[in-house]
Subunit: 207 residues, 2 copies
DNA sequence: CAATGACCATACTGTGTCGTATGGAAACGC
DNA sequence: GCGTTTCCATACGACACAGTATGGTCATTG
């Protein structure tokens, strides 16, 4: 009396969204998984990063996921690693600057994070930080990134002629402000937000 | 052949943790639910705020929950309302100050949030803000609280002799910094964090 | 052509959760 | 006393999810 169809429906499915003419099967590299996972993380938070949802988003099923990753935890670790490396590269790119242009670059860094540009990057940032509040792994990665960022920015301040102690405080102030602003809802606080942000940036950077 | 015991075990349970000698049944007021819910929210995030977990934490079962609340959404709304009102009261208490002591009070406000004191308050704050990133209701409440806070603090800066525009930027900078710092992991950035924070506070408040 | 391995689908178990239905126990009104 | 209301327990159905087991399909290799 068993109804074990074992192979009933589903067929017009193998030709997934991999570009109509089947480009050599495209093995769906682990990197691809991680990138889409980060996308999910940004939009739904760590709690929304489910393997079935992720698989569907990749156009496959769980079966594929568990072939590439041992379990959900392995994916999360890969996500953290990928994010960390991306941040490190980004920081290096942002903080290497020709002598004399330090404060200019600092202004750029603030605007880069604070503006509506880089919205996605900030979403990821916030999602990871919230994740880090309940997960030691994530907390460690966040700490590493923070320390690296803080130190690179400190050097910029020092190069622009500040004492080390002052540079440290400015560096911390800068990032705290950037992240804090992205947490707040202040769009209706003033009708000239540009001027507001300008003043804040000056306060952080100039002496 | 059905085993529908309907009333089998469980009996030494009615005398819950309501104080051994049954103090008149203690109806477990809705406020109580909300307060414990906020506790859960702070520790587990909005995703961890489940009704069964909450009920267990209250020493009862879901049955009780759904008597007090229509559904989970109703609880969340109550949580937001409770938090909002608490914040408003707190802001008023923190920003009403005798003339001449404004900057002193501003320093106090920074330290209050930034220190290891008020750890729980900050946990709630961050949880609500993360919640607000995906929920319009929460976002509206956060915005209301933010605007109120920003305006109260703005007045403090104005009272201590600042232009309105400058006061606005300082107010925004203050809260952004406070929340941002609580998002970062900078404990190993310097071995004299006190001095660091002192410099930051000065930068935000003094002219 | 046959065998192997890479990549994926399907089915299943177990658990956690939301919400509902129903009934029980204590307190209160009359 | 008796019915009503308040507050809660139990049981149930439906779903979403993690992880496993198993098999299918295709390309590659010998």
């Amino acid at each position: 009396m068993e109804n074990k169809p074992v192979k009933p429906p589903a067929k017009a499915k193998r030709i997934r969204a991999r570009g109509e003419s089947a480009p050599a099967r495209t093995p769906l590299a682990p990197e691809h998984w991680v990138e889409i996972a980060i996308d999910l993380l940004a939009n739904e938070g760590i709690a929304g990063l489910r393997v079935e949802v992720l698989a569907k988003r990749c156009g496959v099923t769980k079966g594929s996921f568990y072939w590439h990753f041992k379990d959900r935890q392995a994916l999360l670790a890969a996500v953290l690693e990928h994010w960390k490396e991306g941040r490190i590269r980004d920081i290096e790119k942002t903080t290497t600057v020709a002598p004399g242009k330090e404060s200019e670059q600092l202004h750029f860094a603030i605007e880069l994070y604070g503006a509506s540009r880089n919205r996605k990057g900030m979403s990821i940032e916030l999602a990871v930080r919230d994740w880090a509040r309940h997960d030691a792994q994530a907390a460690a990665v966040v700490e590493a990134v923070d320390l690296y960022r803080l130190d690179c920015t400190r050097k910029l301040f020092v190069s622009s002629g500040m004492s080390d102690a002052e540079a440290k405080s400015r560096s911390l102030l800068l990032y705290a402000c950037v992240f804090g602003l992205s947490l707040m809802h202040y769009t209706h606080f003033d009708d000239n937000l540009g001027d507001l942000k300008q003043r804040i940036a000056e306060r952080i950077i100039s002496n």
